[in-house]
Amino acid sequence: MFRNQYDSDTTVWSPQGRLFQVEYAMEAVKQGSATVGLKSRDYAALIALCRTSKEAEDSPNSPLQRKIMPVDAHMGMSIAGLTADARIVCQHLRSECMSFRHSYDTDYPVQRLVTNLGIKLQATTQRYNRRPFGVGMLIAGYDEKGTHIFQVMPSANVFNCKAMAIGSRSQSARTYLERHLDSFMDSTKQDLICHGIQAIRGALGNQDSSEFTINVAIVGKDEPFKIFNETENQIYFEIAKTMGNPVTSDAEDARSIGGMIDMMDDMLEHGPSGSGSGPALDTDEESNAGLEPRPQ
């Protein structure tokens, strides 16, 4: 994507019918580290890859929790992108849930809340004095209609998903989820979490895994939203490791549905070129290290 004369304002259309500011906001999501959401009949799980902080790992405001945010007893979300924007959205969802519970003494149906969120986010893509929220969210919930995973993007698109992964290097996670999609509905809680961990290990690629921690959260039938602590994370991680090495080859990723879409997007931007511009998997994180604020 390159600069052009139609990208200075959210309210400017390009001649091809694109809103560039909204698309740039989607890029912010790809800067954040990966996160995966998947659901079975009774449980919905969120798995996030958090960057380990070298200092103060045991502090109360543990930076490890910044990716997954509880919203209510029946709902939580994990984010990829600008943490500050995510906090605003999370606060809005929490206050909506609280207000609903005060009036009706019951869980806010997840689909309705997420639809209203989409309507609220759309306003930011249509006003000259606002910008889209630079955060993509995976919202996991359980209500009388069963389990839900919703993907909400800065474009204010809301998708109801069986499983989804967003963030940087998430294509290999999506490939893994696609391959095992049929087994999720009837999975046990343990199998579901292990599938999620395997999916997100794909997103690590060949990177040094000590730089990242895998965080897991679950919600479901008779199970209020809960983020696992260190010990529980470790238990599931060990079980998942016995399921084998999930890292897929770039070629396999390219053949998957998501990989094809990424390749077509790249060709639209850079033109058909034979010189090594494959799916946009690699962001050069070392060179971004000095820049603030750091998306999670």
Binding site: H102, S103, Y104, D105, T106, P109, Q111, R112, T115, E144, K145
Partner: protein, 265 residues
């Protein structure tokens, strides 16, 4: 004619508008002055008396659902004015609503609830409101009105099938007090019928549907004999897994034959 307004007075917008002498002539809002809106001994008294009233409502929870009955009379003081009014309402497939007290307030509440049902349907996701949720909402509304010193003068019985088909029956009154129980009665029925229903309840199980029906029939009979603001006709609402609806109107089985033997009265 109206264009030469040299005194810059606000023009009347509708017939009778010119007689609002207390209004600020340069203002276009139609707010009443504070003397007319502040509650208290020297200000306005929001009506502290109900005008047209419905009498008691009885609700009984049985093993599979709830049953609710109210007579069909709405009185205007001591005048038996509207003799064919249904005071039990079916809200949706899960909820029955019975209203006692000022009947205009009941109708206003029902209109508000019907709005909520329409909003539910507009979502198109097949999620129907449950009785507990509606009960909580009613409590909030009635409590808020009482706090504003402008109560809805009603006593409401709400019942139906909650999550997983569990029967639920509750009462909310004009102060915003609410409780749920296996028998709920408002008005005179609270004094005349609750004692005998409570003593008839088996200790180890719920009522079944026939027992509940018998209790209701006996209650309506007692109320017709003893409460002077009742008539002999009543409607019955039933909410069970098989169906939810209003039946009736039924007639109370009245027996005045003993009157012939009364002398010296």
């Amino acid at each position: 004619m109206w264009s030469s307004n040299i005194y810059r007075f606000r023009q009347p917008l509708w017939p009778g508008d010119a007689y609002d002498f207390n209004a600020d002539p340069l203002q276009h809002t139609h707010k009443l002055p504070l003397e007319y809106t502040t509650p208290g001994p020297f200000g306005t008294k929001h009506s502290t008396a109900a005008i047209t009233t419905g009498s008691s409502v009885i609700g009984i929870r049985f093993d599979k659902g709830v049953m609710m009955a109210a007579d069909t009379l709405v009185s205007y003081g001591s005048l038996a004015r509207y003799q064919n009014m249904e005071r039990i309402f079916m809200i949706n497939n899960n909820i029955l609503f019975g209203g006692c007290g000022d009947f205009a307030d009941i109708q206003s509440i029902i209109r508000g609830i019907e709005q909520k049902i329409v909003e539910d349907q507009c979502n198109g996701d097949d999620i129907e409101m449950k009785p507990k949720a509606l009960g909580q909402w009613m409590t909030r509304v009635l409590y808020d009105r009482r706090t504003q010193m402008n109560p809805l003068l009603v006593d409401v019985v709400l019942g139906g099938l909650d999550v997983q088909g569990k029967p639920y029956l509750a009462n909310v009154d004009l102060r915003g007090r609410s409780h749920d129980d296996f028998v709920i009665a408002t008005g005179f029925a609270r004094h005349l019928t609750i004692p005998f229903i409570r003593s008839a309840k088996p200790k180890d199980r719920d009522f079944n549907m026939d027992e509940a029906h018998e209790m209701i029939k006996r209650s309506m009979q007692i109320l017709y004999y003893r409460d002077t603001r009742n008539n002999s006709q009543y409607t019955l609402g039933v909410c069970s897994p098989k169906n939810c609806g209003i039946e009736g109107p039924y007639q109370v089985a009245e027996n005045w034959s003993y009157a012939a033997g009364i002398k010296g009265y």
